[in-house]
Subunit: 380 residues, 2 copies
């Protein structure tokens, strides 16, 4: 039998068939009229998704490349930056800033904690930039970026936000909230294969470029090229064609609809998990609707849950990272995802936990998830 496969990780995420069809078209040259039309439309759609009037810069890279671009373009060696970290990706900000010789002040919370704007207001004074994470994919926490950005700007620092797993899934009002730099990637809520990194840059950030060495990730070079509908370097034309189609799908019903859909998916997932008698690690709140982190029940290794789901049932969920290894597993529900993906994930988890001898309530998770999804129909 050909077995079916289910991808329920918080990235890369499943890609709609329309997008897969677009990336498999014959290669076109990046300086021809057809690519330029596609590129222009894609860059315009990105501005809509980023909710910004600024140019969104596109790089052939993983999201981390765009994170590095923010440090390289804004922070000189010895310059003070405040890194707010409460998980794996916050710690990555600190590692990048240290690699560039910045004077890094790490406002470090326990993994899973919710960063507080007051702490940023207190610690951010004198920092050139505050490096923030909107969706900390390792813990499921979605931070209050609006409040954190306000605190950063209040102390005169640039607010730089990693929105790799959140952009397009939860609200991020780049211009309205005054976020200076927003980082994202193609492979999460933007429903495209990995390989494109995205950055929006505010006027304030453009005015404060650093002297750190850079070439491939140099913002000015990329902005100048994009202004001519050119790319500084050969773009990943296939992925750009896919992203264009995916953004068209996303914007067809509008971002508000996508945000409401993710809230409903999050509620459905959490309701099902709780009905089974499992304990949530990620917050039980509507903002944290990107990925749900779940404690394995007593006596069960979370890594074994992940392995069994993958090897026996064709279902890929994500394991815990760092201090959460073996303790939690994570169900991603971003991008091209519907309630039946949630019920499949929950059914698989129920089955795997029973097989591993975990103490779970059977036969309730799926129904409770469907109910929660329906109850949440009027969200927003």
């Amino acid at each position: 039998m050909v077995s079916k496969r289910y991808l329920f990780t918080p990235g890369p995420t499943p890609v709609p068939p329309e997008v897969l069809a677009a990336i498999s078209q014959p290669i076109i040259h990046h300086r021809g009229a057809d690519f330029r039309a596609l590129y222009e439309r894609c860059l315009q759609r990105l501005r809509e998704v980023f909710r910004t009037e600024s140019e969104v810069l596109m790089f052939a890279a993983s999201g981390t490349g765009a994170m590095e671009s923010a440090v390289a373009n804004l922070c000189a060696p010895g310059e003070r930056v405040l890194v707010v970290s409460a998980g794996y990706f916050g710690e990555r900000w600190a590692a990048i800033a240290r690699a560039y010789g910045c004077d890094v002040d790490e406002l470090r919370y326990e993994w899973g904690a919710m960063p507080a704007a007051e702490d940023v207001a207190e610690r951010g004074r004198g920092a050139k930039a505050v490096l923030l994470t909107q969706s900390e994919t390792s813990t499921g926490v979605v931070a209050d970026v609006q409040a954190l950005t306000a605190a950063a700007r209040h102390v005169g620092a640039l607010a730089v936000v990693d929105a790799v797993s959140s952009l397009g899934a939860v609200p991020l009002e780049t211009d309205a909230w005054g976020v200076d730099v927003v980082i994202s990637g193609s492979q999460k809520a933007l429903m495209t294969p990995p390989g494109l990194a995205l950055v929006s840059v505010s006027d304030a950030a453009w005015a404060q470029l650093s002297s750190s060495p850079r070439f491939y990730f140099d913002w000015e070079r990329t902005r100048t090229a994009q202004a001519r509908l050119d790319a500084a370097f050969t773009p990943a034309v296939s992925l750009v064609a896919g992203l264009d189609v995916a953004l068209g799908l996303l914007l067809h019903d509008g971002l508000e609809s996508a945000f409401a859909h993710h809230v409903r998916l999050g509620r459905a997932c959490r309701a099902g998990v709780k009905a089974m008698g499992l304990e949530l690690f990620s917050p039980d709140d509507d903002r944290s609707s990107v990925v749900t982190a779940i404690h394995a029940p007593d006596g069960v290794d979370a890594n074994e849950v992940v392995a069994l789901l993958r090897d026996r049932h064709g279902i890929t969920v994500a394991p815990g990272q760092g201090p959460l290894k073996g303790k939690v597993f994570r169900i991603g529900h971003i991008g091209w995802f519907d309630v039946f993906d949630i019920t499949t994930a929950l059914a698989g988890v129920e089955l795997a936990l029973v097989e591993l001898g975990g103490d779970v309530e059977r036969g309730v998770a799926v129904t409770r998830a469907l109910e929660a999804f329906e109850e949440a129909q009027t969200v927003r």
Copy 2:
């Protein structure tokens, strides 16, 4: 009518349908067993194509990202590097090295010149690295990398070679010739869409890493991850799947067969061009079989040839760059390319030149190209 499109540029190049089918498969997670098996095979195939026992590092990026990685990982600010430049991509090496604050000595030839090993031996003394270009795509010249590498190593410098448009098309014996660093990309002779950058690193280069800031392109981080069949950052899984299939196709008949094929394509292209009465800009030699640069005939603007071919005939060839703008046009013949692509390109050029009032010999180019291709059957 649906019009057919022909891509005859030296990158991105046409991609075989098997590769397009591979990149359009549903997304798989990069930490699952299926991706790891694919990744391992692909990395092994890369070593075969690079002709090296060293690990080939893979980045989600354009080829320029891999060029920058060589500078960032090997060259510290103030360190002396010799850049050998005779065209657009040689000058890019110099720009990257300057961006990193290196003490750049540019051994600059006229565009289209063939760099001389004696010059490297003379100027290279005291340089940490010599930055070389195997196939200068802007001029069609393929340099004698074996001799240039020997000269660099003779003066104790690392030999770093941009082989973006040449790897897999013309011989490059990384280990046998002692090339320290070889850079390539997915979108040329490797018959895959753009978006993957590749670097092989010799033991001597590993022993001389620099202190320049870097994170995404850090070689050590990537090598450590690849040793575990992991990737330091989310890899472009779709493109990796495509590259794996493309490398399988390339290695099925063997690299020697690919090299001989490119020699035949180059001979066919040059023979047809000359039969038409046009003058070659690129060398009339068998090593330069990546791209053929052709002078536009008297009174014809080469950019108009490119525009007419594209807009009226659906054929994309490349214009001249830099000082060659408007003077030459270029036909790429690398990767998934056969003799009928050459004859189509020549037929299109003949038609366009007649339309533009150029003085060309009609009705001979295609036949002469076919003959030259056949005559060259015993190459190697």
